[in-house]
């Protein structure tokens, strides 16, 4: 028994660093400990460094520093063993559009050495799972975006992987397709015992699907936990205020209030996590008046993972 399976971790990374040339530090010391049979989401803005850890864990690039194990195998020293146990869906489509869906699945499985009977049985089963039976013998170039994504998802499942990597599995899809892909992912965990590492920047998706979430930015993991834990630490309610005036002084005084659990600012918006929104609203408005801060708009809401995300990654534009 390898150490990893003893302590039940399917992905273990220590101090992963990836540099491209002198200039770009894409991953800056990422540690991961992902348990078997869980869905783990890496959440971050565009360019935060979500994809590069996946590229390293799936053995496409070697880390500059640090080490990682997938299913107990080292991603550098035992890369081929890692490749045998994983399934991957990359962010950009990697489908050969001149092939039919069925051909794409068949060639993929041949690369993994599956026998003809195994391949045919699996193709039939998986096409049904994502409802692509009717389109299976058409060229992939005729597929819609959602169909391509579903095909790539099942291509990753052809070999019954233990660990599935999904880089932005629902990027650019309509809400119907997103919901269906989400359902499949949960079904893979529940019915097939798979472990899934996915990246996304859709908050709702991460909140609904994943057992654990890590928020990543500038190549570092800022915080990790169960979605509900992360949301709870924002306070029971979030008061969002827009306004003008003596802002810094107001923020400082809010921070001193005992009811204030978190405070996030940026782009003229202040978000205050409090124990009870309706009770503290009056208190905060009167504090604003007292400190010469004119409130233009104020609202109370239950916090979401999106609020946690903004708290840690800020509000400036990303690209």
């Amino acid at each position: 028994m390898s150490e990893a399976s003893k302590n039940n971790l399917v992905i273990e990374a220590r101090g992963l660093v990836k540099r491209f040339g002198q200039e770009i530090l894409a991953v800056d010391g990422v540690d991961l400990a992902i348990e078997a049979n869980t869905i783990y989401a890496l959440l971050g803005p565009n360019g935060a460094g979500k994809t590069t850890p996946i590229i390293m864990l799936t053995t496409l690039l070697e880390p500059t520093e640090g080490s990682a194990k997938v299913a107990g195998f080292d991603v550098v020293m035992q890369a081929n063993d890692v490749r045998k146990t994983i399934g991957v869906t990359f962010q950009e489509t990697t489908l050969d559009k001149e092939l039919t869906g069925r051909q794409a699945l068949n060639y993929h499985a041949r690369l993994y050495g599956m026998s003809k009977d195994q391949r045919q049985a699996k193709i039939t089963e998986l096409l049904v799972l994502v409802e692509l039976e009717d389109a299976a013998d058409r060229a992939i170039s005729t597929y819609s975006g959602g169909m391509k994504r579903r095909l790539e998802l099942i291509r990753g499942l052809m070999t019954d992987p233990n660990v599935l990597f999904l880089d932005e599995p629902t990027l650019g899809l309509d809400p119907q397709s997103r919901a269906r892909i989400g359902d499949y992912i949960v079904e893979l965990k529940v019915n097939r015992g798979m472990s899934v590492l996915l990246t996304t920047h859709y908050m709702d998706e991460a909140e609904q699907l994943s057992d654990k979430v890590a928020i990543i930015d500038h190549g570092k993991i800022l915080i990790e936990g169960r979605p509900s834990e992360l949301v709870d630490q924002m306070g029971a309610d979030v008061i969002t205020i827009a306004g003008q005036g003596n802002r810094d002084d107001f923020i400082e005084k809010v921070n001193d209030l005992s009811c204030c659990e978190t405070i996030t600012t940026g782009n003229g918006i202040i978000q205050i996590g409090v124990d009870s929104g309706s009770r503290r609203l009056v208190e905060i408005i009167s504090l604003a008046n007292e400190r010469g801060f004119t409130v233009e708009d104020i609202s109370v809401a239950k916090p979401s993972l999106g609020d946690v995300f903004l708290k840690y990654t800020g509000r400036q534009f990303r690209d």
Binding site: K84, I86, T94, L111
Partner: protein, 259 residues
Amino acid sequence: MSAAVTLWSKHMVKSIHNQMEMTGMLIQPILWVVLFGVGMGSLLGPSMPGGEDIYITFMLPGIIALTASGGAIAGGSTWLNERLQGIVKEYLAAPIPRLSILMGNALSTVSKGLIQSLIILIVGIIVGANITSNPLGWMGGLVLVAGFTLGFAGIALSMASSTDNMGAYHSMIMLLNLPLLFLSNALYPLETMPTWMRIGALINPTTYVVTGLRYMLLENGAEFAKVDTIPLWLCFVAITIFTALGMWLASSAFKKSLK
């Protein structure tokens, strides 16, 4: 090896289903033989002892070499296309030897090159070229074509691994392709060239594949080939070195692109 065969079969199936590619692949060598061979033959033939057919016989190996290098260039752009479309990522994530990915591409390029060579030979016979009926000659000729195609495919693959731009790839490869054809004895004998050109031709692998093909494929091939005073064994040695060099270039550029 089985992974290379899988990728080879994928490339072949794709080509067969691509009507445009198939038409081009089959018609292009015929056009070369008929338009260039017959045209040049009627221009130069009367001045040569034996008439028009002599020139077609003389330049048929050159057309085979030209077509093989064209196939190698197409193999390089297939590879670049797969890199640009991210298809290579699927291969890289699979539990297969890294080099089998290149081998699959090289194998399909060679297969297509051999098919085209056979077409050229058959069309050549139809328009009157004097081709041997000795099966050993055909075998030896196809071995030389395969080696030359692999070597050239290696160069093309190394260039396609070193750029992310299809236009840049094609302009670089044309820069290489033109002298490989014209700075050789493919279209005119070495003895008619000025000295500087002859030196260029003697370090050009095309000269050796063309000379070797003349020995192996043409009726009275030795008569044609001996004009250039290159022995047959040297042709095989030169092509073997060229194949090895091409494959080495391709695999080192490929490994570099994985960093």
